[in-house]
Subunit: 194 residues, 2 copies
Amino acid sequence: MNLELDRYGLWEGINEVIVTTISSDGKPNAAPIGIIRHEGKLMVRVYNGSQTYTNIMETGLLAANMVYDPVLFVRSALSDVDDDVFEFIRTDNVEDFPVIADCNAWMLFEAEYNRENTVLVAELHPVTGTIRHKEIRPVNRAFNAVIEAVVLATRYKVFKNEKYILQIKSYSNTIYKCGGSTDKNAYDLIFRLL
Amino acid sequence: MNLELDRYGLWEGINEVIVTTISSDGKPNAAPIGIIRHEGKLMVRVYNGSQTYTNIMETGLLAANMVYDPVLFVRSALSDVDDDVFEFIRTDNVEDFPVIADCNAWMLFEAEYNRENTVLVAELHPVTGTIRHKEIRPVNRAFNAVIEAVVLATRYKVFKNEKYILQIKSYSNTIYKCGGSTDKNAYDLIFRLL
């Protein structure tokens, strides 16, 4: 199984992906979440109060979508994404589960959790997956800075501490110097959604 | 040509790659450098005093190597790399030019520059290239933090200002929380090489 995880890019450490889930009444959701791989196990930590938390409780399922679209990271973290970002897959176990249509790869998991606390800690068991599009992708510091800014923006939404806004603004130089137009648009979108 | 650059992952903005060059007496060199793509042109800025600068002056050539090895970014920024990281390619124009053996892709360029100042600003004209290994690679904030720490470490080497060391140390939490062993090793190596 480890080899399979490697092939999907899920390496040791925390892999930042877009997690898609579905509610019991069929509404899809997307959120950026870290998939933790440690000593051969995959884990995820999801905060109570999020739609992802509720959906995992209802279905026991989530999909990790490997994507590089900075706008999608921003939008899924700070608001709802448009319905057309989703595509619905069908497997032996599941009918019509949402994944990100433009993802490079997705992997569907069963989530095994013991307790329902402030944080849901679940071990993930792969069900199936598809690799759609491998590519060459050098480091871009602006894209990376957008990801950091998204992390800070989600903290700001919870704690409303202005220090997070200042930290987000500190990425402006890197993003405008190193970024392409998509990175810059994603960064600007953060301020519009906060 | 733009389509070809896209295929090699060289998108609008600054792409952080390992640049390989060779001296007139045949010694290969590697250094992390940003390849700037702006309005359809590729450019590079290289500081006088670096081996990369001297080698480009001598040969007019450089190769961009797309790699994800954080240890290679650290080592090539702060010291010499071992000879065995290189492999020598042969093209119609060039005999035995060094590229990184373990790269995902490399692209060879002719560098067109007008002036020889503190900073060499060169336009890059693609000669040839090879894509070796496409992959799925989700965001890892620890890998990204190593890249930021490398940028700060190269500034520290020039300016010897302790504020850069403090900034490098500020990445410790992210790297130990989100990183795999390679990211952690790369980060520790920065302090040994400074």
